[in-house]
């Protein structure tokens, strides 16, 4: 029942996928790179939304799992010479395990503590990446990642990213619209009541956190190969803020909202960087607008506009 997807959304997704397939044919390096990066960030933001939109907790440290996926994939591929088929899943499992470890502590308490602890643990990951020089390269970053030859090149890598990201999004969609996903929404809406009807709310929030961490790890693992390097900044709280703002900008109560937010924010960043070095200020102002005027993000705004237009402005 709940796996019905609205026709409009489905058509939009198929058209978007169709368009993306043809992006490399344009031959524009700029466009191919931009699309690859946006796909990675879209997945990253969608993964965060499993925690925010579907379990109602806010993680201020989601970048930690992106970074763990990236570092693990890079180190296994390069330092240990593992083939991608083993390194990539291992990186995802490591991200999920790290998320499970943090979730074990964070889900003991509710919202405020959850926010503080996720941030604190992500900074611990950052500190470890920073200090464990012999393995992670410290503040110079882990550079010169070995990329397997079959995806070595702009176009093959684009298609690799497209396939992995699409598959991940389909899996995430299925999870969020399954009985499990619907239960998570019940937990979000009322933790106490969900508990009364027999839901193990702590376990549910923990599982949501692990799923989110695993898919952030997927995004991170792709990004490490794309950049041929992983840097400590990817675990820093500014990165967590960025993905959080992407999710909120798009709209946390819709499944695809965060992907829209990721694309919007990423393109905005590209433009902003040409005019100002103060991108964080722009981010801060966007966040202020979201908090004060647009709590449901762009998707919420679009819905409101649609109602105005088609229902003649009546409430």
């Amino acid at each position: 029942m709940s796996w019905n997807i609205s026709r409009g959304v489905l058509i939009t997704c198929l058209v978007l996928f169709g368009l993306l397939v043809f992006v490399p044919l344009t031959g524009s390096k700029y466009l191919i790179d931009l699309s690859t990066e946006i796909m990675v960030y879209a997945l990253f933001a969608l993964s965060l939304n499993v925690i925010i939109g579907f379990s109602g907790n806010v993680s201020f440290g989601h970048a930690a799992y992106f970074a763990i996926g990236g570092y693990a994939n890079a180190i296994l591929l390069t330092t240990y010479g593992w083939p991608l088929i083993f390194a990539f899943p291992a990186a995802i499992i490591l991200s999920a395990l790290a998320a499970a470890f943090v979730a074990y502590f964070c889900t003991r308490l509710t919202d405020i503590y959850f926010a503080m602890l996720t941030l604190a643990f992500s900074m611990l990951v950052w500190a470890i990446a920073f200090k464990w020089r012999s393995v992670t390269g410290g503040d110079d970053g882990f550079v010169g990642v070995t990329v397997p030859s079959f995806i070595d090149g702009r176009v093959p890598f684009f298609y690799f990213t497209l396939i992995i990201v699409t598959a991940s999004i389909i899996i995430l969609w299925l999870i969020c619209h399954s009985a499990f996903g619907q239960t998570l929404i019940a937990v979000r809406e009322n933790l106490t009541r969900a508990g009364f009807i027999g839901v193990n709310t702590r376990m549910m929030r923990g599982i949501a956190f692990v799923i989110a961490g695993a898919f952030a790890g997927v995004a991170g693992a792709i990004f490490a190969m794309y950049n041929r390097g992983v840097y400590t900044e990817s675990a820093f709280w500014a990165e967590s803020a960025q993905v959080l703002i992407m999710t909120l900008l798009g709209g946390m109560y819709s499944f695809f909202g965060p992907a829209i937010g990721a694309a919007t924010l990423y393109i905005l960043e590209r433009f902003a960087n040409e005019y100002t070095e103060y991108w964080p200020t722009v981010l801060g102002l966007i966040l202020l607008v979201i908090v004060l005027v647009l709590p449901e993000g762009l998707v919420g705004l679009a819905k409101r506009l649609k109602e105005r237009l088609f229902l003649g402005g009546g409430q």
Partner: protein, 298 residues
Amino acid sequence: MDMLLSSPSFAFIQVLNSISLGMNLFIIAAGLSLIFGVLRVINFAHGVFYMFGAYIMYSVTKEFHMNFFWGVIAAAIGLAVIAVLIERGLFQWLYDKEHLMQLLLTFAIVLIMGDLAKIIWGTDQLSVSYPESLSGATNLGFTFYPSYRLMLCIVGPLIFLGLWFLIEKTRWGRLTRAATQDMEMLAALGVNVPVIYVTIFLIGSALAGVGGSLAAPINSPTPGMDATIIVECFVIVIIGGLGSLWGSFVGALIYGFVFNFGSVIVPNWQDVFAFLLLMAVLLIRPWGLFGKPEREGH
């Protein structure tokens, strides 16, 4: 490690180092915890307030060539003014919204003020000198110890006493405690609750400013110092218990000892020890050593 066991004066100095670090952190964490206790908001911007305190100290002593003491006063007043502007301009609109929006608002302030600091003070590491009267070492009889750090060991407990007296022994403090219990009832009794809120936010933020100005000679002001301190404060208030003055005091002392002795015993990995301690507290007493268990479903 060997030094710790073989030389009592070295060990004693490490104890004092731990206390002075803990007391400096206490001043900042107490502000964060105080604001949470009354306003029920965790101010993510508390770290950036601390950073502004340190930068203000730099400007006052290095650019305006004024006394260190005036630097502390200026940092307190500066942050008090910023706090009032933020509370009246932005925060007051969000008290009836969900926690998330309040957290996000403070996060927006972090991003904007972080850039503002770069615009005003640049990105270089700045140095602040110790005040002249405290730049030397004090003779403790069997060993010498830096006077400045000794001053921190004294100022911290004084601030603790001041806050304790204010909250526990004055009429205003009783009203504040009442506001944490039932804000609507208090308003119905004719108390001006918004004034209590803005005053608490002001005091808490001024403490961050004072803490930053006092830390400036030890931790040279630099961009990014806000991220480090906010994580340290989070660890302290979670260990001690959110909203508890005693909790901040004891939590900060514990953090000071763990961090300092951790760096002596296993250099470079002191952060990890603090986190291990945090995890242990979360397992045994999730609401912190001096905190109260959360009420369900709010």
